[in-house]
Point group: C2
Chain length 174, copies 2
């Protein structure tokens, strides 16, 4: 089977969002062990003018949800962006995963030459060809915010490793 936009997008979103959920479990376990309010972790940042953990998870899930919906030519569900705890963030990841599974890969595959228009900050709009939008915007942003989430948790001392980040990828180890 040849490569396709849906193959580049949907299985990675699924594997990585499941990995993100498991990483958030480790964060919740750390909070419980250290008697830290999970809302403190959700608000943690690497720098005062960087987004907190909660926003990193919101944007990562939005890239998967909105990116694949725009490419498939359908309206993505809107989430409230009001998650304050690790449990609420996990629920957002689960809702995103459920939505991703409803997407028709063939609709994504037909979008390579279509112009995609998307919000860019509060007032601007970005315009890209579908395949460029996937390759140079959705995928880099998705991994950026996943890694930022990972880095915040790693920075506060939570024991997550590269395997936690990559998730259940189809790899044989010898």
């Amino acid at each position: 089977m040849s490569y396709s936009m849906s193959k580049a997008a949907l299985p990675s979103f699924e594997i990585e969002l499941n990995a993100l959920s498991a990483i958030l479990d480790k964060a919740a376990a750390f909070a419980a062990e250290k008697k830290v309010d999970p809302a403190v972790l959700a608000a943690w940042r690497l720098a005062p003018d960087m987004f907190p953990l909660s926003r990193q998870v919101q944007i990562a899930t939005d890239q998967a949800k909105n990116g694949s919906a725009r490419l498939a030519g359908i309206e993505p569900p809107r989430f409230e962006d009001n998650e304050k705890t690790i449990d609420e963030l996990k629920e957002r990841v689960a809702k995103t995963l459920a939505f991703i599974k409803t997407i028709d890969g063939k609709a994504i595959d037909g979008s390579g030459d279509r112009e995609i228009t998307f919000p860019l900050g509060p007032t601007n709009k970005g315009h890209m060809k579908g395949d460029d939008y996937l390759t140079h915007f959705v995928i880099p942003n998705f991994y950026f915010h996943l890694t930022a989430t990972y880095a915040i948790l790693r920075h506060v001392g939570i024991n997550v490793g590269k395997q936690d980040f990559l998730g259940a990828i189809p790899m044989k180890i010898t």
Copy 2:
């Protein structure tokens, strides 16, 4: 034109490595302004048991270099992994970019069903189908280490933003 593995890989490596080079310029300018030895920045970490900046850049470039070479079925050049300063890291990025440009995209496109074997840590080997290796290993790892580099610099107070990370992507803004 339909989507392909080489399209998913080579242009993102090129855009992102150029972006990384520009981010390292900002790091060098910061070091000069604050009278910080650039070797101090190259050795900075987000956590004591995480890789320093220099290693993050080494691995990011290796994913681009070794990943695309393995998919194209050729031997990647070996770098010494001895960079200690921002300038040396920039040189490594430039060498990687020069190599990436020599790669035949069609050789990558023919590798989807081929088993790729690659080192995994000091003793193990990973085995994946070519398309899975690109989608679930090379691309996530590439962006992981680019984002870790960005996060280290952001954490020490260097003024880099999302646009610096994404680089010169083919996007029109209105």
